[in-house]
Amino acid sequence: MAEDVAFKHIEKTSLIGKRIKKPDAPAKAIGKTRYINDMVLPQMLYGKILHAGRPHAEIISIDTSEAEKLAGVHLVITAKDTPDLKLGFVKDNAPLKSKVLCERDEVAAVAAESEAIAAAAIKLIKVSYKDLPGVFSAKDGLKKDAPQIQENFPGNKSLKFKFKHGDLAEAEAGSDIILDHVFNVHYVTHCCMGTSCAIADFDHNGKLTIYSQTQYPYNYKMDLAPALGIDPGDIRVIQPTTGGSFGAKLDVYPYEPVAAILAQKTGRPVKVLFDREEEFINSPTRQPAAIHLRTGCTSDGILTFRSADVLMDNGAYTSWGPTVPVIMMRTVSGHYRVPVIDFKAQAVYSNNAYAGSFRGYGNVQMTYATAQHMDMFAEELSEKHGMDPIEFHLKNAQKSGEVTPQKSYLRECVLAECLTTAAAASDYVNKHKTYTEACTEEGRYKRGIGLASSIHNAGGAKIHKSDGCGTILKMDDYARVTVITGASEIGQGIDAVISQIVSEELGVPPEHVTLVNNDSDIGPWDVGVHASRTTFIAGNGAKRAAIKAKKQILAAASKQANVTAEELDLRGGYVVQDKDGAAVIRLDRMLRQMHFQPTPDVVMVSDYYEPNSELEGKDHISDHSAAYSHAVHIAEVVVDTYTGEVKVEKVTMAQDVGRVINRMGLEAQMEGGLAFGLGFALSEEMIFEEGRLLNPSFRDYKVPTAPEMPEIEMHFIESDCEEGPYGAKGIAELPTIVIAPAIANAVYNATGIRFLNPPMSPEKVARAIWEKKQADS
């Protein structure tokens, strides 16, 4: 036995559930991190795009001659230079346009030696337009005489979805209460603090390297290629540090192929970077929707049916936005136990902005409706039948093992625990009663408490044939670990989670794990950061790879120590005896011994983890996620009835997280997710007039700042998900989904007014209070 291990014993400890710091935080704290926005490549040119700034028009002519003459301008391009290049979910978009279908349409682009020259050149491009009558709402788009927006889509009909289960007429007949409302969910946008940016660079062989903020690098290549007319194999995606994403970068948007085309034609690297106003106007939005929701219930408080008819303004092009019904219908069919379902959704082309994917993906919109219906039932049942509101929720809450009408299999379901935990912690029932009684009293400030819950996929969502993630893991002679994963880091913290998981398995400190995950030429396949999938999928992959490496090391060590591999373990940088922790050999020495022998045994392993979920099919009947999770939020608000201001004072959250992995990262995601939902509920709104955005600035588009944030109390319910890494489930979207209806229900509790159309801005709330007063008197 080597000297340095004599008498050394190492206890078994676990890092799971502990607080692990983000490995990239120190560099960010001292301003050293180089974001894509900061990057300058040798010989780089600056690209700038001319946007139409009008919603619907024919382009009669474009005169680029003056711009071309400007000193420092290398190239000006228009749609003429890029025929046949297609983009988007149904290939209805293009990098540059020959006809204007919405305000943000890219009409021309410039590559120049500086940003200032590029901006000046853009102003010198003369375009003559013939404006056309536009369509500015889904309803108008469906009218018989509406102008047709997209050539290939008669009647302006875009994507359409349907799901039916059970006999609706019978369920309606068996209902004692039927609620019937239309909820209009508005436009909001991501506002990533780092604005959109791409840097494209072609090499002499025609291979494109694109520095991108994308959150799905591998499919990205497939989507970008047709917009450039090159093979996806000839694209290398590098993901420098980015200033947030939240779903915004789950598609290719025109500025990216435009940068690439400029680079291809000039032979120089080209960077396109939006300023904040461009960011507001040209980025994807959350999908707005008019949700006609009908829900039935018996006087015993049992849900009988839910029907939703969703009309969506598609905008001019189809990105991820109009696909959100895929998740909306899971909410309609899975938010509580509902036996009969009738769901339809139709997207309609218009000359408005178009939506992309956005944290919460359709569920923010749908839960805003379903959770308010639940509250309306609870109110009515308590008023007429004296039913306890929590009891009503519990009666309809699913239990472990139940299967929804769409076949979401709720293996571990703790909705009931989430409800009772949050209700008890916030004293919901008592406060609710007190505020209800005080609601009609005089007084400027009204208090309210509101409860909402929801369900979301928590183990990926199999919308592609594979929802998997690859991992490659190697260890060097010094026991340092490199993990190459397909999973992207966009600020959310998968870097910390993976180093934590690998360190848990291999008994090395998390700081000794290096993550490589920003180069598509190096990383293995992954479908991207979305659907709350990364900790679940990439975490499982990293764990499995680490277990393989551990087996290899212990097999080698067992020969040497003359024991079986099962009797050994890796702890604190040593190979130890499992039973008493007695050190056998230092891990780095073991690795060197394995390496430097006649037949070298080097640790280089790989894994591809594919979750055991089923593909989302055309009929939408499949267990499309490997796990589902619930959350309950209880919001306590004070409404100033004079100004209409809603102040959220406290939020109590209870969420099924499966199992806490990195407590620090989990809390960060819960709190950040909540801030998004809070902004959506109270202040954020993109205001359009005839397709033009009227408030493209942080002054006029109000994202939450520190004073608006409530006190937050978090309860993590650990359901121990069988399939998840250490029992964990995906967590990052539910906090955004549940908070808005909790606030709406609290505002109702305070004022007696239902807000079906968010945001609950001071103007809107004050007006509604005034109107109610008029009606009451």
Binding site: K28, I30, R34, D38, F246, G491, P707
Partner: protein, 161 residues
């Protein structure tokens, strides 16, 4: 073009700049100090905060030439060598850094507040970061970090006295 003389992070600089150049662009483009971020260029997000003569200011609103003679501290000048400022340490420790784009501005504002008052209450902490937008965190973790930094600084002041 006019000559601009100023001190940045303790180092003197003299450079010819155009009257239209903002201090933010001067820092980022002329001096390659890219730690200071451009989140809006319009004075509405706070990301470009730097300390000018010990006061936090928005560098995107200030023509560089108006900083003539000033002593400026950017995020790159907050740590002393490898020793991070307690605010930076606390931001890391409390998980207050996600994408990190707002972090430099949060640190600048926090350092300034704590230099003047190392025992701030909740409202003072909120006020200190209220003009800086963070889209990732929801601010609570940043507030907790500033409280933690304050307590570390109080302890250091106590031990030192």
């Amino acid at each position: 073009m006019k000559l601009l003389n100023l001190t940045i992070n303790g180092r003197k600089h003299t450079k010819a700049v155009s009257p239209s150049m903002t201090l933010l662009d001067f820092l980022r483009e002329e001096l390659n100090l890219t730690g200071t971020k451009n989140g809006c260029d319009k004075g509405a997000c706070g990301c470009c905060s730097v300390m000018i003569d010990d006061k936090p200011m928005l560098s995107c609103l200030l023509p560089a030439l108006e900083a003539e003679g000033a002593a400026i501290t950017t995020i790159e000048g907050i740590a002393k060598g490898n020793a991070l400022h307690p605010v930076q340490e606390a931001m890391i420790e409390m998980g207050a850094i996600q994408c990190g784009f707002c972090t430099p501005a949060m640190v600048i504002n926090g350092v300034h507040m704590l230099a003047k008052n190392n025992n701030p209450d909740d409202d003072e902490v909120k006020e200190c970061i209220s003009a800086t937008v963070c889209r990732c965190t929801g601010y609570n973790s940043i507030e907790k970090a500033l409280h933690l930094a304050a307590s570390k600084m109080r302890r250091a002041a106590h031990d030192g006295s």
